[in-house]
């Protein structure tokens, strides 16, 4: 099975690899894993508390090319979106964009889960320590 060009591009040249301070109240961290292949994915968003816009997104994924490409693409899509818009990102959009074969669909599910986990974490923090406006 050959990877699509887009997967190879994201895999060999992943965007937004790195990490942010997870204790920062404006940073939401999502950590998810897929035991069947041993993958683990960390995805972080940094949100402007006033506009609710995601200003930065970082990821680090240990896993196959499709898992790395899915999370890399996810961080690209997240930047500039509001938290609510980001919540609407569906794994099927990732599948389409990267032309993932059926056996790799779970990688896109993982990326969607990571996005949702990061947003949930951010919202939890925002409730605990409301931004000073």
């Amino acid at each position: 099975m050959a990877y699509s060009e887009k997967v190879v591009d994201h895999y060999t040249n992943p965007r937004n690899v790195g990490s942010m301070d997870k204790t920062d109240p404006n940073v939401g961290t999502g950590m998810v894993g897929a035991p069947e292949c041993g993958d683990v994915m960390k995805l972080q968003i940094k949100v402007d508390p006033i506009s609710g816009i995601i200003e930065d997104a970082k990821f680090k994924t240990f896993g196959c090319g499709s898992a790395i490409a899915s999370s890399s693409l996810a961080t690209e899509w997240l930047k500039g979106k509001t938290v609510d818009q980001a919540m609407q990102i569906k794994n099927t959009e990732i599948v389409t964009e990267l032309a993932l074969p059926p056996v790799k669909v779970h990688c896109s599910v993982l990326a969607e889960d990571a996005i949702k986990a990061a947003i949930t974490d951010y919202k939890k923090k925002a409730v605990a320590a409301p931004a000073l406006v």
């Binding site: 950590m31 998810v32 894993g33 897929a34 035991p35 069947e36 292949c37 041993g38 683990v40 960390k42 680090k60 240990f62 779970h106 993982l110 889960d113």
Partner: protein, 176 residues
Amino acid sequence: MDYYRVLGLDPKLQLDLNELQQLFYARSRQLHPDRFARAEASVRDAALIESSLLNDAYRTLRDPLARAEYILKENGFDIGLQGTKDVPPELLEEVFDLNMALEELKAGDESARPQLSAARDNFEAMLAKSSAELDGLFAEYDQHPGPEPLKPIRALLNRRRYIQNLLRDVHGYLSN
């Protein structure tokens, strides 16, 4: 549960391996092709199919983990698919950190090596502990068969698989 039926066993998670082997031998003799040399083609074919099922059954049931996965599958659980929700966050953190250490070692940073050995010992201890836990869960299922007692078994198998994959990688690097 064809694997249990072909061996004449009740579908229990806890099995006596000696008994399992005896049953396998006895049933293998019954199904031996020599006994069907003069039988009708349809009977011979049926024995052949049963015999192949018997071999799969024995191979699966003698391994406790494969046995548990079989029971899970027969009960409609698809192991792995619900992975995310089944893996505790602390384990994910640990898996992540360990992967970071592995990556540093790959990049030639030898300072990660002691962290890796410590992590390996820790994960091996977790595996041993989970084996004991699994025995307890097996006994519980056998007393009250049904989907509920299978849930913690699935969760535990998912964790084990995670840990096993990692250990394989860690062993690989530490032996280099």
